[in-house]
C-alpha cells in the first residue's frame, strides 16, 4: 500500500523576506533529494514555491521537465513527477509555502484539485488546476463542472470559510460527483479554503481512496467561541484510532505545543520523525503537518495531517 504524496515541504521567507528558504520537510527515505532541497532558495516567482508566492494561489505542476521547477534532475532521480504548492498568506504578506511532491503510481486512487471563482464577482467555482494521477475519467468530469457556493465539497468549504471533511464521499448527498467518485474508488475528501483575496477565492480539495489514504489521520481544529483555545472539530481516519481520539479531546492554548504555535504565528509546521517513510499499514503516528486556514489575518482553523 502506498500514498501518492511522497514529499511534504515547508518553505519560509528568509530574513530579508525576498527569498524562500527551506523550513522543514518530510522526505521518508529520499535522503539525497532532501539534501538537494535543503540547500535551495527561491526568489519571488522562481521555482514552484516562488511561483505560488507570485501568483498568490495554489499551483499544480504536472510535469517537471521543461518547466519552471528547479530540482528536476534530483526529483527525476527519485521518481518524483508532480508538485503542488499552497501559499499561506496573511493579507498581502506571505507566511510560508507548503509543497507536496508526488510520484506517478498506477496503484493509487486520489486527486488534489484547486477550485476558484476566477473573479470575485463570480458565484461558482471551477477546477483551475488538478492532479488526478491515473483517474483520467474523473479528471475530465471534474474539469467540466461548476459548483455554486454551498454546493459540493469545494462549494461548502467556500461558503463556510472553513475546512470541510466528507467521509464516505460516494454516498454523500452534498458531493455532486458522488457517482463518479465511487467509480474512481474515491472514498473521502477534504476541502480547504486557502486564499480569499479581493480578486478571487481558492479552495483546495484532497480526495483519497481507502486503500491509499492521504494521511493516517486528518484533524480539523478551530478556535472556541471565546477565541481562547483550539478545539478539535473533527478527526478522521480509515480505521478507528482511540489514541488519536484521546488527544483530540484536549484543548490547545495559543503558543503552546505545535498547534498552539501555528495559531500564534500563522506558520504551518511539521513535527515528529522526519526520516520515517509514511507507511499507512502501521497504526502508530510518527509525523504531522499542520496547515493554518487564515481569513483576513485571523486564524479560522488548522488542518493537521498525521502520518
Amino acid at each position: 500500500m502506498k500514498t501518492f504524496i511522497k514529499v511534504t515541504e515547508i518553505w519560509v521567507p528568509d530574513k530579508q523576506r525576498t527569498h524562500l528558504e527551506f523550513g522543514s520537510g518530510l522526505y521518508g527515505g529520499l535522503v539525497e533529494f532532501k539534501a538537494a532541497s535543503e540547500q535551495q532558495q527561491f526568489a519571488y516567482n522562481e521555482g514552484l514555491p516562488g511561483k505560488a508566492w507570485a501568483e498568490g494561489r495554489p499551483l499544480v505542476l504536472k510535469e517537471f521537465e521543461q518547466s519552471y521547477f528547479k530540482r528536476t534532475a534530483a526529483a527525476k532521480a527519485v521518481g518524483l513527477t508532480c508538485g503542488i504548492a499552497i501559499p499561506v498568506f496573511s493579507g498581502d504578506f506571505l507566511l510560508a509555502v507548503v509543497v507536496f511532491l508526488c510520484a506517478d503510481d498506477e496503484h493509487h486512487a486520489g486527486a488534489i484539485e484547486v477550485w476558484s471563482n476566477q473573479r470575485s464577482s463570480e458565484q461558482s467555482l471551477t477546477v483551475i488546476d488538478g492532479y488526478y494521477g491515473s483517474l483520467h475519467h474523473f479528471e475530465q468530469i471534474s474539469r467540466d463542472i461548476n459548483v455554486a457556493k454551498d454546493q459540493g465539497l469545494a462549494g461548502l468549504a467556500w461558503a463556510q470559510g472553513l475546512p470541510v471533511l466528507i467521509d464516505d464521499i460516494s454516498k454523500a448527498d452534498s458531493f455532486i460527483r458522488a457517482d463518479d467518485a465511487e467509480q474512481a474508488g474515491i472514498t473521502m475528501g477534504i476541502g480547504i479554503p486557502v486564499s480569499d483575496s479581493l480578486s478571487a477565492s481558492y479552495i483546495m480539495t484532497f480526495l483519497s481512496a481507502k486503500a491509499t489514504p492521504l494521511a493516517k489521520r486528518i484533524q480539523i481544529w478551530v478556535p472556541d467561541l471565546q477565541g481562547e483555545q483550539l478545539i478539535c472539530l473533527e478527526g478522521y481516519s480509515k480505521n478507528p484510532n482511540e489514541l488519536a481520539q484521546l488527544f483530540e479531546t484536549t484543548t490547545v492554548t495559543k503558543g503552546v505545543g505545535a498547534l498552539g504555535r501555528v495559531w500564534l504565528t500563522g506558520m504551518p509546521v511539521i513535527t515528529g520523525d522526519h526520516e520515517l517513510d509514511y507507511n499507512p499499514e502501521l497504526i502508530s503516528l510518527s509525523s504531522m503537518l499542520a496547515i493554518p486556514v487564515i481569513e483576513q489575518g485571523r486564524l479560522k482553523a488548522i488542518v493537521s495531517f498525521l502520518f
Binding site: 482511540e242 489514541l243 488519536a244 484521546l246 488527544f247 479531546t249 484536549t250 490547545v252 505545543g257 505545535a258 498547534l259 513535527t271 515528529g272 520523525d273 497504526i283 502508530s284 503516528l285 510518527s286 509525523s287 504531522m288 498525521l306
Partner: protein, 191 residues
Amino acid sequence: MNKLNVLLIEQDPNITSLENELKAIGFIYLKTQYDSTFLRLVKDIVPNIIIFNLDICSNTLFSDLKTLNQQSALPIIIFTRDSHVGTIELAIKADVCAFIVGDSEYKRLASIINVAMARFQHQQLLKAALEEACAKLEDRKLIDRAKAILIKTQNFTEDEAYHTLRKLAMDRNISLGEMAKNVLAMSELFK
C-alpha cells in the same frame, strides 16, 4: 558429546599435543592458525566450541571474540602462556569460558571442555535473564512516561492513566510498552 565440532586455533601448527588429545577423546576438529579471516571461518564452519592455544593473546583477538559474542556466542577455551592481569580481565570481558595458563593441563582436556560447555550454557541463561530484565525496566520507564503524559493532558489519575493505556494496548493487541511508545510519539507530534 563425541560428535562435538571443535575449531582448534594453534599459534604453531607443528604443535600437536592438543590435537592428539582431541583425537584421543574422539572429537571432530579443524586445526588452523589465527588470522584476519577468523570470524568468517567461524561463520562458515559453525563450530560447537573454539579452543585457542596461543603464547600471547592480542587485543585484536579479544576484539574478534567480542564481535563473535554479539553475533553468535560460542564457548571459548584459551590455553596460553600470557598470565598478565590485563589479559585475564580482557578474557573475562570477552566471556571466555576457560582461561588456562601453562600447558600442563592438556591431559584434562575432556573435563575442561565439559566445564566450559556447562559454564557457557549458564552464562547464556544469565544473559537472557538480564536482557529480559533490562527490557522490562525500559518498558516500565516508557509506561511511566506515557502515564505522566496522560495524567497531564487528560487530567487522569494515575490509575485511570494506567487503565487507559492498558485498554488501548489490548484493543490493538500490542504490549503495554509498545502502546506507551505510541503515546509518547503522539505527544511528540503535538509538542
